[in-house]
Symmetry: C2
Subunit: 202 residues, 2 copies
């Protein structure tokens, strides 16, 4: 692990800078030359890490979904009941993306920019993340119809993911507070309408 | 009015087709030639209506925000109290955009594609629409802190606007039913936590 670190740090830097440029200019309008300029690396240096722009976008998307999936699994493990697990998932998602706004915009806007084989790899991880939330929702509100429960998962992702359009993590509302507002709306409106399922209707 | 109709119909057709192409390929990757092909119009025919791609995007955005703003004003006028007005706003927004998914994707993805002067005109209409929702929220939940109320408006827009990423209006959940699900979550989680304000806590 130790021997890998310098390699990983430069790659991390490259991925973080590339996400910023893709978020600002759009993937299709960005050249490897633009990315070299903003990352402070030479073109040759960049090609040491990735074969090109496609691989760079794939790595940004794969890493981001892997990190948010791993973090969410850890967060829900610590919670005691279905509603707390859902609450922990929301808190983790919002605070993670508030700290990765550029990556989040890229995940949303460039969801279909990759060719099919690369897209399939990204979507396999994304699918596991969506499945995790849908499982939590079924546990927290088991009597919902399956179509409604599935739609509710995407409605919740909408509340959380749309923040890249308006939210400033350095502004009046800190990420923790935004996470609580979203949890309050979603848990209050969707889950706590089911007192028998959650045992916590107030 | 009657004499204007043939003109408007061709322009409407052009705007609808252009929105579809922009939604699929992205604004920057689309040429006037692509738009001529998909609309079945000649380049000369298109230039009779608009000066170019920029004006086309501006018209799509202005028309869409104007229509949704006018429709929302009408919908809330018919409602009897603050919660019903908010409910009517949500129902109108979701059903309008379920019927205009391409325009909705363009409004979201190309929000910053226009040059400053054109963008300012679009954003002036958008601002009136956001103000309308924020006013409804303040009436329905007056004791919320202003920052939370403002954030809640964007959280609600997120629930509603994200649908272009996952929702199929021809699928299992009809637009009306999706609108009711979103209204139930938002009104239940944000508004009905305020029994004194709404007089309808259940």
């Amino acid at each position: 692990m130790g021997a890998m670190k310098p390699y990983d740090e430069r790659l991390d830097h490259l991925l973080a800078q590339a996400a910023r440029v893709f978020a600002r200019k759009g993937y299709h309008s960005t050249s490897m030359r633009d990315l070299a300029r903003s990352s402070g690396m030479s073109l040759a240096g960049m090609y040491y890490y990735v074969r090109g722009k496609e691989e760079l976008l794939q790595l940004i998307e794969e890493r981001c979904f892997t990190q948010v999936l791993d973090g969410a699994r850890l967060a829900v493990t610590a919670a005691r009941d279905p509603v707390e697990r859902l609450h922990a998932f929301i808190r983790h998602h919002v605070t993670f993306f508030a700290a990765h706004m550029a990556e989040m915009k890229v995940l949303s806007h460039e969801a279909n920019a990759l060719p099919e084989d690369r897209l399939a790899r990204v979507n396999a991880i994304k699918r596991r993340y969506v499945d995790l939330l849908q499982g939590l929702l079924q546990d927290a509100a088991p009597e919902e119809r399956s179509a409604d429960s599935s739609a509710a998962a995407y409605v919740l992702f909408g509340m959380m993911n749309w923040i890249y359009n308006w939210y400033d993590p350095a502004g009046e509302i800190a990420p923790d507070r935004l996470a609580e507002l979203i949890a309050r709306i979603f848990l209050g409106g969707f889950v706590e309408a089911h007192p028998t399922a959650t045992g916590r209707n107030s």
